[in-house]
């Protein structure tokens, strides 16, 4: 007995339903955990999904939470579409955050008109630099990028920690954190007295540009061809290695921007926990978004809702806040499994 996979593409109308079905299934699975803490599942879902959208303050908080996810989700989407399995958005984010801090610390008395572009360019470049070695190893030596990008995440974290315990240690703070960046290097607030900042706009712009590049330019089409079938792409005269390298570097740069945005928009210091796993969550965003820029945007917003919701559900019902993380991880695995339905019809057969 076993499963039999028959190549049988799902009808077009079914595709957008896959993430929705995955969400429903995920909530069904995780209901067991809600019941475990003797909470009412319906109430829990209310706090998860509705409460975060019910007030202006919490909606803004959702957008704040989504900001880094929009960027890491876009980064991972871009790489995966181009056929580069970048698992290293976490490290690239940290590299971007570090560069932003380094620049931000030097920006005293510099006009924001100069400081902000410098922060953005510096963070993008640092993210690119952090993915450069795995990208070159893949393109020149055919060494799988999954492990190399993954291992560099740990290296980046150690690097940040070395800076915070060494040269950047803020003498007045008891926690390892860097001194505060210059005021001119801080992202302006979009709404006064909220935490929503320029990074959100930056993320939206990146998503729009990415959509344009992927679906409206020759480069985007070539990149997708390389990602989907490198062999046919080479046959069609596309420079496969060069295209892969660009996908990888741009992806790293976008992930770097997520780091810039967190430093310049939220924390103003570099801290160990600057990412909080947003690089890894980017993989969930990209997968749930079906490797589509708009999809990734929606997925990041949705995960922002879940993130915010997990706090309100914890406050209201005493459900541990980590339920949100459980839901997201489950959602990743369920979506991944359901994407199979896009390409295959799966039947249970008895082996002859």
């Amino acid at each position: 007995m076993g499963l039999k996979f028959e190549r049988n593409p799902a009808p077009v109308w079914f595709r957008p339903l896959i993430p929705l079905l995955a969400i429903v299934l995920t909530f069904a699975i995780t209901t067991t955990l809600v019941l475990l803490v003797n909470a009412n599942p319906l109430q829990a879902y209310y706090y998860f999904l509705v409460e975060p959208l019910s007030s202006r303050v919490s909606v803004i908080e959702v957008l704040v939470k989504s900001t880094p996810l929009l960027l890491t989700g876009a980064a991972v989407t871009f790489a995966f579409v181009g056929g580069f399995w970048n698992i290293g958005a976490e490290g690239q984010l940290l590299a971007g955050a570090t560069a932003a801090t380094a620049i931000g610390l030097q920006m005293d008395g510099v006009s924001p008109l100069i400081a902000l572009p410098l922060m953005i360019i510096g963070g993008f470049a640092a993210g690119m630099a952090w993915v450069l070695i795995p990208a070159l190893m893949r393109v020149k030596l055919a060494i799988d990028e999954v492990v190399t990008t993954l291992l560099l995440n740990s290296v980046a974290l150690l690097g940040v920690s070395a800076l915070l315990n060494g040269p950047w240690r803020d003498p007045v703070s008891q926690w390892p954190q860097s001194p505060e960046i210059a005021a001119s290097a801080m992202f302006p607030k979009l709404i006064p007295r909220s935490r929503l900042h320029l990074g959100f706009i930056l993320a939206i712009i990146i998503i729009v540009i990415m959509w344009f590049v992927l679906s409206r330019t020759a480069f985007g089409l070539r990149m997708r061809a390389v990602g989907m079938s490198p062999h046919a792409a080479r046959f069609a005269g596309i420079k496969v290695e060069q295209t892969l390298l660009i996908s990888a570097l741009v992806s790293g740069g976008i992930a770097g921007l997520a780091g810039v945005s967190e430093v310049a928009g939220i924390h103003f210091h570099l801290i160990d926990a600057i990412s909080g796993g947003n690089g890894y969550t980017g993989i969930i965003v990209a997968t749930l978004g079906g490797l589509n820029p708009w999809g990734a945007g929606l997925a990041a917003l949705f995960i922002g809702v879940i993130d915010t919701g997990s706090q309100s559900v914890s406050r209201a019902l005493g459900v541990p806040v980590y339920l949100g993380d459980v839901i997201l991880a489950t959602l990743l695995l369920v979506t991944l499994a359901m994407l199979l339905l896009q390409r295959y019809r799966i039947r249970w057969v008895r082996q002859p």
Partner: protein, 315 residues
């Protein structure tokens, strides 16, 4: 400098090295066995974490209930939690043939989140970290000079070096199952043609590997710390992923890599306490950097298992 060369210092360093290397030996051998069957299990970080949590929680509950063998109950529970994760990973990557790296990361995220959720569930939000009376250290050589203190170690450390590594090696190279496992990881089509059940073999490899990973995590909470904290694994799983490549998919070389890393780690801790100001993070980054450099140098000659990352589907 005299401090550094004193016998006490060296003995302490060697003893600490063995202790630090223990969870890495469990994890690395587990990952070697899994990857030799053709599956990269990036769930390792989460499975070690889950093992540490489940082991601790079960032991704490059993201890509170006054059971004598509470530590063994903890270890057993940790192993079972590893097996469950192996089953899930198998379902995703073997049965459904999904992307191994995304599935593995998903397992890590899920196992980590479940552990943290469970920790809150079981122990609440107290400000004092709960703790248990951990495994005692064994002293097979008593107070004998040098070897006495060096081999004052936890039982699981002895198990790691004297059982897990040799048995892991024997399993891979000296049993029929090991031969089947390696052939499945190298050329599943050929293995299938020879009548080997590719799916069952891969599930078994995942199970053995994850049981070892979870035990490695449980070593930290049940033996060396006697407590559980969110930072308990702190990337040790990723170190194992690096060590497996560094060891070119061999359990014995994996043990040597774990010892090397354990030594560096123990040394930096000691140097720090002696007041040496050095960026210890640089030392901790070594296993990753060395592995990446080794990959770059070996270049196209890296001997990945032939079916690495490739799902197998019968035509």
């Amino acid at each position: 400098m005299n401090d550094l060369l004193s016998t006490t210092f060296l003995v302490g360093l060697i003893a600490a090295t063995l202790r630090v290397a223990t969870p890495l030996v469990f994890g690395t051998v587990g990952e070697v066995i899994t990857e030799r069957a053709g599956i990269l299990n990036l769930g390792i970080e989460g499975i070690m974490f889950l093992g540490a949590f489940v082991g601790f929680a079960a032991a704490a509950k059993a201890e509170a209930a006054g059971m004598a063998g509470y530590l063994w109950i903890g270890l057993g529970a940790a192993t079972v939690s590893g097996l469950l994760m192996a089953l899930l990973m198998g379902l995703l990557t073997v049965t459904l043939g999904l992307n191994q790296h995304v599935s593995g990361l998903g397992i890590t995220l899920l196992a980590t989140a479940l552990s943290l959720f469970g920790f809150r569930l079981v122990f609440g939000e107290s400000s004092v970290l709960p703790s248990i009376d951990p495994f005692p250290q064994l002293t097979p050589f008593g107070d004998a000079p040098v070897i006495g203190p060096i081999f004052t170690q936890y039982l699981l450390t002895f198990v790691a070096f004297l059982v897990v590594v040799p048995v892991g090696w024997w399993l891979l190279y000296r049993t029929n199952f090991g031969l089947n496992l390696r052939s499945v990881g190298e050329n599943p089509e050929a293995a299938d043609a020879a009548g080997i059940n590719v799916f069952r073999t891969r599930y078994l490899a995942l199970a053995i590997g994850a049981a070892l990973m979870a035990s490695g995590g449980a070593f930290l909470s049940l033996a060396s710390l006697g407590a559980f904290s969110p930072g308990i694994i702190a990337g040790r799983g990723w170190v194992c992923i690096a060590l497996v490549i560094f060891a070119r998919w061999d359990p014995v070389r994996g043990m040597l890599g774990a010892l090397l890393f354990g030594g560096v780690f123990a040394l930096q801790l000691r140097l720090q306490t002696l007041g040496f100001a050095l960026p210890y993070e640089v030392l901790l980054a070594l296993p990753y950097l060395v592995t990446i450099a080794a990959l770059a140098i070996a270049g196209r000659n890296v001997a990945y298992p032939g079916a690495y990352l490739k799902p197998y589907r019968r035509e």
